[in-house]
């Protein structure tokens, strides 16, 4: 989408990740191409098991031990390939240049270490006194809206509510002023009133800290509200990506179209049954020969079963992996 490569904080090229399991090789990600431009928010959307988590874990190299990354895959962070970094380079990157907010704030913090210590520990690379680190931590807590932060530094995670804990996680993620913030469904575990607060907070902080953001969610409404670009994933592939407005109004891939129809917020006709996508996600051990979405696709025609589609441009800022886009 953006021709100027230097303007991209993160660039994922041809990323394939497989997991060796007892049942066989699970091909969790196949030839994923995507990028996060500087100062933009990119959303990743898709059902459970579509490879969202594998993608972000690849970016931070937090994959399980049985993961195998494809030889031609690259994950460039400001031009350096994360997949070829050694442990020292990785540690220098994690938390400092790329940081992450996890899905479930109830389990993301260590229950037996005070939050002040957990926050100060992130600053271990800085040449600062312990008191200085505590002050910095308290300042960050204040910025995410925790009242009386200096006193609360000595409290433990169980003394905070879920929403508070997610605020703390966000404060921790921004401690080192990272260039890229990854948010993995940061509001899924929270109730709806908190969701809006957390989203506003993240939007506000992202602008203040001037970082780029990769926002993973299955909530289309959130993606539309927050993001500049969207990547739609299905069963380990990027099926459609583009500028958020263009993609939501001119969705070309049948999967994206059906996903939009299934969003309860967009349903206009009252109906007892919520719309669903028929069928289920394919087995990633034994892949179909043609299009990955073929078995569930209502618009399937001859080319779909023969070979997998390539990625075809809808316009300059929008592309989809569907033969209908090629043939349109």
């Amino acid at each position: 989408m953006n021709a100027n490569g230097g303007d991209r904080v993160l660039e994922v090229r041809d990323l394939s990740v497989s997991f060796r399991t007892g049942r066989g090789v699970v091909r969790a990600l196949r030839h994923v191409d995507m990028a996060v431009p500087r100062n933009k928010i990119v959303g990743i959307v898709g059902e459970s098991g579509c490879g969202k988590s594998t993608l972000i874990n690849s970016v931070l190299r937090l994959l399980a031990a049985n993961a195998v990354v494809g030889d031609s895959s690259t994950v460039l962070f400001r031009g350096d390939d994360v997949l070829r970094m050694n442990d020292r380079q990785l540690r220098a990157m994690r938390g400092q240049k790329i940081s992450m907010v996890f899905q479930d704030p109830m389990t993301a913090l260590n229950p037996v270490i005070s939050i002040g210590t957990q926050m100060a520990d992130i600053l271990y690379r800085l040449d600062m006194t312990a008191a200085g680190k505590r002050e910095r931590a308290a300042d960050m807590l204040a910025q995410v809206g925790i009242p009386d932060p200096m006193r609360r530094l000595d409290d433990y995670p169980h003394q905070f509510s879920g929403g508070m804990r997610q605020r703390i996680c966000i404060a921790m993620a921004l401690m080192m002023n990272p260039a890229l913030l990854i948010a993995d469904e940061p509001t899924t575990a929270l109730d709806v009133t908190l969701e809006a607060q957390i989203i506003h907070l993240m939007k506000d902080l992202r602008a203040r800290f001037e970082c780029s953001m990769l926002f993973v969610s299955h909530n289309l409404g959130l993606i539309a509200e927050l993001c500049d670009e969207v990547v739609v994933m299905y069963a380990g592939e990027v099926v459609e990506q583009g500028e958020v407005h263009d993609l939501f109004h001119r969705a070309k891939h049948p999967y994206t179209q059906m996903l939009l129809e299934c969003d309860p917020a967009r349903i206009e006709k009252a109906s007892r049954a919520l719309p669903t996508i028929q069928g289920s996600v394919p087995d990633l051990i034994d892949l179909p020969r043609g299009c990955i979405f073929g078995p569930r696709c209502p618009k399937r025609y001859e080319p779909c079963d023969a070979s997998p589609p390539g990625t075809y441009g809808v316009n300059a800022i929008h592309s989809a992996r569907c033969f209908q886009v090629r043939d349109a």
Partner: protein
């Protein structure tokens, strides 16, 4: 933390009082007349009466119980049937040896078992992990008296690194400690294996938790993640296990005391059971119960010190 300590201490005292109630009931529930059993078949009725009066067995049960409680609180555990020496003095002489032995056994278990478990968890499925697994299962499976005998043969008889028997010169701490090394190993070796397996399992479980993934995502140094973030949580079940384990460590100490010819409460109680010396049996069992209550108390306090969630729950 102070409130927790006070509450937990009260619980420990209650446990000891209940244990004393059961101990006294047990004496009454033994079939036959305690006096007859103690004095043997050739005792005259007068001798039995005299014995009952001496032991207070002719009075109502609860009077006996409260007398027992009052005596124990005053430090009076009765007198030895044969030598007529106060039981509290006799236990007082033996107890430090038993406690020292249990502590050294515990020390071996902690110093070897916990690092072994951590190492196995960090290097899961490596050849060294498998070797550690074999070693620890071996440690658990071999009875402590076998370990004692072979440790004697190897380190005392063949290599002459450590002395074979006795408790060492009284007052000479270094000599006493050297005499503790082998018996301590014999008592603690099974626990080395237990701890290694136990710590490995809980470490693996904790290492898979979200907050550890988060610590990694923040680039914290691996050593800090393993030994602070993971171990502080993974050690909690082990601390609870050790609190209970001291009981079996003390019973395991009986073998070591006999084989290494060491003084100790275990050996004294075994001798007393063989000669039906009730006051010593009761005193010995009571002191062991108190040690047990004390060790669970300590383990609970350590767990509360490590885990803020426990501190606030009681």
């Amino acid at each position: 933390m102070l409130l927790y300590t006070v509450k937990r201490l009260g619980l420990a005292i209650l446990i000891v009082c209940l244990a004393m109630l059961m101990l006294l009931s047990a004496i009454h529930m033994v079939p036959g007349d305690p006096a007859g059993i103690a004095l043997g078949p050739r005792a005259t009725p007068e001798m039995r009466e005299e014995f009952r009066a001496l032991m207070g067995l002719d009075r109502p049960f609860f009077v006996q119980y409260f007398k027992f409680l009052a005596n124990v609180m005053a430090g009076d555990l009765g007198v030895d049937v044969w030598s007529k020496r106060p039981v509290s003095t006799m236990i007082g002489e033996q107890l430090p040896h038993t406690i020292a032995l249990a502590l050294v056994g515990l020390g071996w278990a902690i110093l070897l078992g916990i690092p072994m478990g951590c190492f196995s968890a960090v290097h899961r499925n490596s050849p060294l992990d498998k070797l550690t697994a074999i070693l620890s299962v071996g440690c658990i499976a071999i009875p402590s008296f076998i370990v004692s005998l072979y440790a004697l043969l190897l380190f005392a008889v063949e290599l002459r690194w450590f002395p074979a028997i006795g408790a060492g010169e009284a007052g000479d701490l270094e000599d006493q400690f050297v005499h503790l090394v082998l018996p301590g190993l014999a008592v603690g070796l099974g626990w080395v294996g237990y701890l290694a397996r136990f710590v490995r399992t809980s470490m693996l479980e904790v290492m898979g938790e979200n907050h550890i993934r988060m610590a990694r995502a923040y680039g914290l140094p691996t050593r800090r993640i393993t030994y602070i973030y993971a171990l502080k949580l993974a050690i909690l079940p082990t601390v609870a296990l050790l609190g209970v384990g001291v009981g079996s460590l003390i019973s395991g100490a009986v073998f070591a005391e006999i084989i290494f010819a060491r003084p100790g409460v275990g050996k004294m109680v075994v001798d007393a059971v063989n000669t039906r010396n009730y006051p010593i049996v009761m005193g010995g069992v009571l002191v062991t119960t108190m040690l047990f209550a004390l060790s669970t108390l300590i383990s609970d306090l350590v767990a509360a010190w490590l885990d803020p969630r426990i501190r606030q729950s009681l």
